[in-house]
């Protein structure tokens, strides 16, 4: 199977008044479909920059002199790269900004829809003046209005007798998804299935109440204007321009669909383990605790069923007991969602908990990639070995710091960037950048020690 995402030899440089920071120096990474890939490294090694590069969210002073980010057979960074190639040293942030704006327009079809990102600090990534339910609803409204329109339309078309049939089907098949979807398609009610299944799968609600709730999905009346608009949205698959342009109509579309978005947000938040979601969707971010906010941000990232979710330090701002809740949640959603995940963290123990494979970064390059067990028990790269021996444990085994400092990325050391701190460095390390050597079945290590082994 092809990879979900391939990052090939990506270089990113930040042009500042104090010089050019070489944040990424040739990152090679493949994200397989359905896996959770952890990225570990110390601060300043380029973990977050890599995430931003994939999302095309780099600031205007960042150039991409080389490299490709291949997603769905398309290169996501070709425009900024071509610009950097063209101008070379005469990089101009203002011109770059124009390029980035163009990229941004093209990316709206991908960003937040097919690739989404959970940012580091949940308080700053939520808008403080909007209810959290609205923020989830808006994500869906912007990227996938037809989904919401289908849901509204299905409810207005459904009759009590059809819902009675649906209930019987749910009871017989014990909530089988395929059967319910088929039922919805047969009766011209696409969009009803997820609503019915959501109610059916709730564990905190009594059966009699579930039945009542599913029956109440039927027979919602709509005025003719709304109905015509919604039908048009469903047909077009998006909001047709004539509605988007006329203010009075666009307001109707927005009102109906955002309201529906709240319902969808409620379903999402409940599935992420938030109690009383009916109340929570109306709250503002400051009313929520750190763990709840993080769940809301994750809900926004998952809202459009993305193919790739990038989580940047999802647990760094929360306490250890809440961290345990979030990790448990991430483990649970990866089984229920068909997305691939990139989880970025400085804490190897956190990554070991949720990942299938772990990539170790140092000074803007991936130095080692392999499965969790191999990384923890048989680390190959000297940096990985030293990093693991620096982590204090509950058993209080002696810890060993890594001598020296993280290199200045304005002028990184030649050859292997780790050689000034590496006890095994030899002549080759000083001058030639190591290539990836394959070890075992699935382990890649960028270190000359493993040449020819």
């Amino acid at each position: 199977m092809s990879d979900a995402l391939a990052i090939r030899d990506v270089h990113v440089q930040f042009h500042t008044r104090r010089g050019v920071y070489k944040a990424l120096n040739g990152v090679n990474l493949r994200l397989r479909r359905g896996e959770v890939l952890g990225i570990a490294g110390e601060s300043g090694c380029g973990k977050t920059t890599m995430g931003l590069a994939v999302m095309s969210l780099l600031p205007r002073n960042a150039s991409i002199p080389r490299g490709q980010v291949i997603f769905d057979n398309k290169d996501l960074v070709n425009l900024p790269r071509e610009y950097s190639e063209r101008v070379g040293d005469r990089f101009n942030p203002k011109e770059n900004e124009r390029i980035l704006r163009r990229v941004g327009k093209a990316m709206t079809r991908i960003r937040g829809q097919r690739i989404s990102m959970v940012f580091q600090e949940p308080m700053t990534s939520l808008n403080p003046v909007l209810p959290v339910g609205f923020q989830v609803a808006e994500t869906i409204y912007v990227h996938n209005p037809a989904l919401l329109a289908r849901r509204v339309l299905a409810r207005s078309k459904a009759t009590p007798s059809l819902m009675q049939d649906l209930l019987r089907l749910l009871d017989q098949t014990h909530g089988d998804e395929a059967a319910v979807t088929e039922f919805a398609a047969d009766h011209g009610l696409p969009g009803i299935e997820e609503q019915a299944l959501f109610v059916w799968r709730r564990e905190d609600v009594h059966v009699s109440r579930k039945e009542k709730a599913i029956r109440s999905l039927s027979g919602q009346s709509m005025n003719p204007l709304e109905r015509n608009i919604i039908v048009a949205v469903v047909k077009a698959g998006s909001i047709p321009p004539q509605f988007a342009r006329v203010p009075i109509l666009s307001r109707v579309v927005r009102r109906v669909l955002v309201k529906e978005g709240y319902r969808k947000a409620l379903e999402l938040l409940t599935s992420l383990g938030i109690h009383h979601a009916e109340r929570v969707v109306k709250m503002y971010p400051h009313e929520l605790s750190g763990g709840m906010r993080q769940r809301v941000v994750i809900a926004i990232a998952l809202a459009n069923n993305p193919e790739i979710v990038i989580m940047d330090e999802p647990t760094s701002a929360v306490d250890v007991t809440v961290q345990a809740q979030i990790l448990d949640l991430v483990k649970r959603i990866r089984t229920s969602v068909s997305a691939s995940f990139i989880v970025i963290s400085h804490d190897l123990a956190v990554l070991a908990e949720v990942s299938d494979r772990i990539a170790i970064m140092y000074a803007g390059r991936i130095v080692e990639v392999s499965s969790v067990d191999e990384i923890l028990h048989h680390p190959l790269h000297p940096y990985t070995q030293m990093l693991i021996s620096a982590i204090p444990t509950l058993e209080a085994k002696p810890v060993e710091g890594i001598k020296g400092e993280v290199p200045d990325m304005r002028d990184p050391p030649g050859g292997c960037a780790f050689h000034p701190r590496c006890p095994f460095a030899f002549e080759k390390c000083l001058s030639i950048v190591p290539i990836d050597f394959r070890q075992g079945t699935d382990q890649l290590v960028a270190c000359w020690l493993y040449e020819g082994k």
């Binding site: 110390e42 009594h206 763990g291 345990a324 190897l348 908990e353 204090p392 810890v399 060993e400």
Partner: protein
């Protein structure tokens, strides 16, 4: 004993609407002792009040209530504790006058500050950016009149070497240094007056693991060399495991458990410590963990009695359930799982603190059964003592809550949980 605190409280005033002032009880009734040359860890989640305790101990903050005895010989301390137990106020005062930190005037404090010092969490904000490192390190020596200016400069160079930095750093400014180097400077400053007690407030939280390991080893070496007592405040339990001998576990402003490091970390007794320890991710170890529901409480209106009871997986009758908590859970059950069982009109009202009124249904036996069925899953229902049918509706009466104290356990530690009260679990066992 290096330092001993009894019944330490710190309440911060919080201005509410309409000029009302309430208090945030950040630290409540905390007792803590550090022996000479001992490293004691204080762990807890953010907001548990551990930094506040550290600051109160060296009077950077003045505690609202409580007593702090500093550098007190063991016989006097034993006498003090005896007098405290007996309530002999005159004797208490006599000892406290000599050793209490809270009764020292500011000039006396100045000399005491030579003997205690603190290292702050964030080395980026704790060093004055306009001072050279030699000034940064020399400042405590001059302000406490530990030595003359010339001597301080010589000693600053010595200290730089001591913490593993080159001597020529004395002319540099903090911005030229990396995070790890800055934290070394902060440590050099803290040990400049040869203190006997060092408060380390999250000394490695802002650092990367590779640098954290260097700092931990530095602290360990300094401690062996100079015999400094340390209070290590951190949320990272592995750091405590590495450096400390004794551990105090704090939650919501109270000490939950304390004792020997090995025992507390390996075999925690308090339900909170258990959950905390099982939440710590350990690389390469898959385990089932007990995941706590919910979040730490709001300390303006803290939970009754045991502050951990709303999240506790084994809370029982007298742990401090209030009528509001029980009513909320009951309402959730009636609206969810038991929807329709008691009719649509059933209404749950909390009446005062210890009674709940259910209106709109007359099925008292049904409610009794519900409480009996759900009490293992919904812990708050355990506190229901009696269900009575009254003319105004069904009345639920709750058990009186019991405030937990520090109960000594057999292996020399103390646990603040009613399960460890002598004969304390009898109620739980009978129920």
């Amino acid at each position: 004993m290096m330092i001993a605190a009894y019944g330490l409280c710190k309440h911060f005033p919080v201005r509410g609407a309409f000029r009302t002032t309430t208090s945030l009880r950040a630290v409540d009734d905390v007792g803590l002792k550090i022996q000479r040359e001992q490293v004691v860890g204080l762990v807890g989640e953010s907001g548990s009040g551990k930094s506040t305790v550290g600051r109160c101990l060296i009077r950077l903050l003045n505690p609202t209530d409580g007593e702090i005895l500093f550098d007190i010989p063991d016989p006097e301390l034993a006498e003090y504790e005896k007098a405290r137990g007996a309530g002999a106020t005159a004797r208490l005062d006599a000892i406290a006058d000599r050793f209490s930190l809270l009764r020292r005037s500011s000039s006396e404090l100045r000399s005491i500050r030579r003997r205690v010092n603190i290292v702050f969490q964030d080395p980026y904000s704790s060093l004055n950016p306009r001072w050279k490192l030699s000034d940064v390190i020399g400042e405590p020596m001059l302000s406490t009149r530990y030595c003359s200016r010339a001597e301080a400069e010589v000693r600053a160079r010595e200290l730089l070497r001591e913490v593993g930095l080159p001597e020529f750093f004395e002319d540099r400014y903090p911005h030229e240094l990396s995070g790890g180097q800055r934290q070394r400077v902060a440590i050099a400053r803290a040990i400049s007056t040869n203190p006997k007690l060092l408060i380390l407030d999250e000394p490695t939280s802002a650092l990367d693991v590779s640098v954290q390991a260097q700092i931990l080893n530095l602290l360990r070496r300094l401690r062996e060399k100079y015999g400094i007592s340390m209070l290590l405040i951190t949320h990272n339990i592995a750091v405590v495991a590495y450096l400390a001998e004794y551990v105090y576990v704090m939650y919501a402003g109270k000490i939950m458990e304390w004792g020997d490091k090995g025992k507390v970390l390996r075999d925690p007794q308090h339900p909170y410590t258990k959950a905390l320890m099982s939440s710590v991710p350990v690389a390469g170890e898959k385990r089932t963990r007990s995941i706590l529901r919910g979040d730490p409480p709001n300390l303006i209106t803290p939970p009754l009695a045991c502050r951990f009871h709303p999240r506790c997986p084994v809370a029982f009758e007298v742990c401090g359930w209030s009528a509001e908590e029980v009513a909320e859970d009951l309402e959730y059950l009636l609206a969810g799982k038991y929807f329709g069982t008691f009719g649509d009109a059933a209404q749950v009202l909390a009446e005062g603190d210890r009674t709940i009124l259910i209106q709109g249904t007359t099925d008292a036996t049904g409610i009794q059964e519900l409480v009996g069925l759900e009490r293992e899953d919904v812990r708050s229902l355990k506190s229901v003592q009696a269900v009575d049918k009254m003319p105004e509706g069904i009345v639920l009466r709750l058990h009186e809550p019991v405030d937990p104290e520090m109960y000594p356990s057999a292996d020399g530690r103390e646990v603040k949980c009613l399960l460890f009260r002598t004969g304390g679990s009898t109620l739980a066992a009978n129920a």
